[in-house]
Amino acid sequence: MNAQVQKLEALLARVQENRKKPRVAVAAPVAAAPAVAPPVRPAPAAPKPQPVVAKTDTAVTAPPPASPAIETDVAVTAPPPAAPVAAEPVDAPPVVASGPVAVTEGVLNTPRPRTFAGLVERSLSLRVRG
């Protein structure tokens, strides 16, 4: 009997010990899981906004440079100091910019003739002043 009682007590003691063990063992991994998860979540989330912002920035800033406008400014402002009148190539697109600088104010407002004959006609009308 004593031997059986001792066995039962030993079993009971094991059961009690085992009950304690799982609680600690389960608690540990659960606690560890969230600890690992947080750093994983922010990692993928962080890079996403950056590219979007970056793309938006480049998309918005690319058009504004408006390189043609800058070139036009340069083209218009560069010639004046060189000479009072500047050449306008005829083979350039018909911008009718009337040249960076003209001889008189009236000339500035005069668009370039649309035909070659008109262009020649206007040149033929030139006279020496005075």
């Binding site: 000479a83 009072p84 009148v85 500047a86 050449a87 306008e88 190539p89 005829v90 083979d91 018909p94 040249g99 003209a102 001889v103 008189t104 000339v107 005069t110 370039r112 003739p113 649309r114 035909t115 070659f116 004959a117 262009l119 020649v120 006609e121 206007r122 040149s123 033929l124 009308s125 030139l126 006279r127 020496v128 002043r129």
Partner: protein, 176 residues
């Protein structure tokens, strides 16, 4: 040939058996070396300008025939340059200086510079617009002016540092 572009393909034909070269299928042409042209002009002396003006007029007439009356400056210059280039006289450059039109001949044969180039272009433009024009050489380009104003503008051009100086002394004064 489209009015918008000058296409020299098939415009020069060689009939070696007859010893003839034809241009645009209408006229007979003669090919000259650059040296031969220079010798001819030198022999012509003061008449060289007249010879070149006549050459320019024949080229200008062909240009005129392929252009509509309201041809834009760009199209007209393109065609004129094409005809000059096909004949071996170089290419045409045109610029507007305020109201003034200036022409230049680039890549021309030796001996065809300065006043001689001006004479060729004078004939060319006169034939294209079908009225007499005069060209005054200034700083490597040729200013298109009225024949009646040539002397006074040329006098002004002699002391000028460049075409801008000349144009600054000009004003539109009505049709010639």
């Amino acid at each position: 040939m489209s009015a918008s572009s000058f296409d020299p393909a098939q415009t020069v034909r060689f009939d070696v058996s007859k010893g003839a070269v034809s241009l645009d299928g209408v006229g007979r042409a003669v090919l000259l070396s650059e040296g031969a042209l220079e010798s001819l002009l030198a022999a012509a002396g003061e008449a060289a300008s007249d010879v070149l003006r006549a050459l320019g007029k024949s080229l200008g007439a062909a240009v005129r025939a392929g252009l509509p009356d309201d041809a834009s400056p760009e199209i007209a210059v393109h065609h004129a340059s094409g005809h000059l280039g096909r004949a071996g006289f170089g290419t045409l450059r045109a610029e507007t200086w305020g109201p003034a039109l200036a022409l230049g001949l680039e890549g021309a044969p030796s001996g065809l510079t300065g006043e001689r180039a001006g004479a060729l272009l004078e004939g060319l433009v006169s034939a294209i617009v079908e009225r007499e024009v005069a060209l005054v050489s200034v700083g490597g380009v040729h200013l298109v002016v009225s024949p009646s104003e040539r002397a006074s503008i040329a006098a002004r051009a002699k002391d000028a540092r460049g075409i801008a100086d000349v144009v600054a002394f000009l004003a539109e004064g009505g049709a010639a």
